[in-house]
């Protein structure tokens, strides 16, 4: 007979579980503490974003009218690539040191814990990018009134990118040097975010209403919140097998 049966019986019970909220809070705290101690990892995408956007005036033209035309593309390509750069670190270290295995075995919902991790990832990458965006936009000749709308679009867009990226990061966990594959998987999915984000920036620069692209970006983020943690949890389970 080839079929195996392994039976375990216990009369003692386990200690009371921590609440899901407490578990998520600890995941968030832990990742923020680690990020603070490995500041270089957080600064890297930010420096990359600033470099890309500030190099455009040198490569194209110092003429402000010309720079304003290319500002939406420059800002969003920079934000997208910087987000992709940071994605590689989302689950990699946790997979290598067995933390992800412990999450799976924690008795807490893996979907919930990975959602907490993705939120932390956005706090450490998307939020700093959002805060630096006005500075980068200013260097591209964007006027002050357009900044809030551009910032809002970057905030929502990077949140959606973090959520989408979590799926790809989960899928490529088991792949050696999975960075390139991660980029290849995430880029096609993130094109709508790039398109609507750039459109929002363009409309904001022209002084028109940015409601439509912002709503669409919001829809992507909501879709990401509802589906991405589930898909990322499934991907992580497969990668750990």
């Amino acid at each position: 007979m080839n079929t195996s049966v392994l039976k375990l019986h216990a009369t003692t019970c386990c200690a009371p579980q921590a609440s899901a909220l407490r578990a998520a809070q600890l995941v968030l705290q832990r990742d923020l503490t680690l990020a603070y101690r490995r500041r270089g990892q957080i600064i890297q995408p930010l420096v990359f974003f600033v470099l890309i956007t500030t190099l455009f005036p040198f490569a194209v033209s110092p003429e402000l009218a010309r720079l304003r035309e290319i500002a939406p593309a420059a800002l969003w390509i920079g934000a997208l690539l910087a987000s992709l750069l940071a994605l590689e670190f989302l689950f990699r270290d946790d997979a290598q040191d067995g933390t992800l295995e412990q999450y799976v075995l924690s008795g807490q919902s893996l979907t919930w814990l990975l959602f907490a991790k993705t939120v932390t990832h956005w706090l450490l990458t998307g939020l700093p990018l959002t805060l630096v965006t006005p500075l980068a936009a200013f260097s591209l000749g964007v006027a002050y009134p357009a900044m809030p709308a551009i910032g809002a679009a970057v905030a929502i867009g990077t949140a959606a990118l973090s959520l989408l990226g979590a799926i790809s990061a989960g899928l490529t966990l088991g792949v050696r040097r999975g960075g390139v594959l991660l980029t290849l998987l995430t880029l096609p999915l993130s094109l709508p975010i790039l398109i609507f984000g750039a459109r929002a920036a363009e409309l904001a620069i022209k002084g028109a209403s940015v409601a439509a692209p912002l709503y669409l970006l919001g829809a992507f983020a909501v879709l990401g919140v509802t589906l991405a943690p589930l898909a990322a949890a499934a991907a992580v389970r497969i990668s750990l097998e």
Binding site: L6, C14, L34, T99, E101
Partner: protein, 195 residues
């Protein structure tokens, strides 16, 4: 279960009750770790079942996971966090405990001296001790341990044996993959040799 081209864990049929330990022995590559990961529900066999209190673990995987504590080959610790911080975040996700409880768990494995040092600066044996403190904190009835004494000195190996003995006396279950059989000095230890 297939591992690449190899068919491992074929025709295994075993039962373990509270107060019992199972030592899984075998050469490298014999499937010890695969068996432990299957028991944990980290890997699902193509055929066969793991039953927890009579029910297939896949029916309530979260409930089953809440009842087990697993330590693999490597200790699940972060190099940039101290021993205390590691345990707070790792075991805290599972259950609430006080700072005194945490310190007491570290003291029981002889880790008080280095509890505030970052794990990066600890030796492999010291890290193992910290992971074993985590095992105590998790408060799970089923312990699944992969080479629990690896990197430990003689004192540490005796400490692991004592920990397991105490856990069994409290009605717990232990499944441990070992290269060198642990001397537990209790009649409730069984041995499984994997070819």
């Amino acid at each position: 279960m297939w591992r690449g081209e190899r068919h491992v864990l074929r025709g295994l049929d075993l039962a373990l009750h509270n107060g019992e330990a199972l030592q899984v022995c075998g050469a490298n590559g014999s499937g010890k770790t695969s068996l432990l990961r299957t028991l944990c529900g980290l890997v699902h066999p193509e055929e066969g079942r793991v039953l927890w209190n009579g029910a297939d673990v896949r029916r309530d995987l979260l409930g089953f996971h809440a009842s087990l504590a697993y330590i693999g080959h490597d200790s699940p610790l972060k190099g940039d966090l101290s021993a205390r911080e590691n345990l707070r975040y790792w075991a805290g996700i599972r259950r609430r405990f006080s700072g005194e409880e945490l310190d007491s768990a570290l003291a029981q494995v002889g880790s008080v001296e280095w509890r505030d040092r970052t794990v990066r600066t600890l030796s492999a044996g010291q890290r193992r001790r910290v992971a074993l403190a985590g095992l105590r904190l998790l408060g799970a009835p089923l312990w699944i341990l992969d080479e629990p004494t690896s990197n430990l000195d003689v004192d540490g190996q005796q400490m692991v044996a004592t920990m397991i003995r105490e856990h069994l006396q409290q009605g717990g279950l232990v499944v441990a993959a070992v290269h060198h059989e642990l001397v537990l000095g209790t009649a409730h230890v069984r041995r499984l040799d994997l070819a």
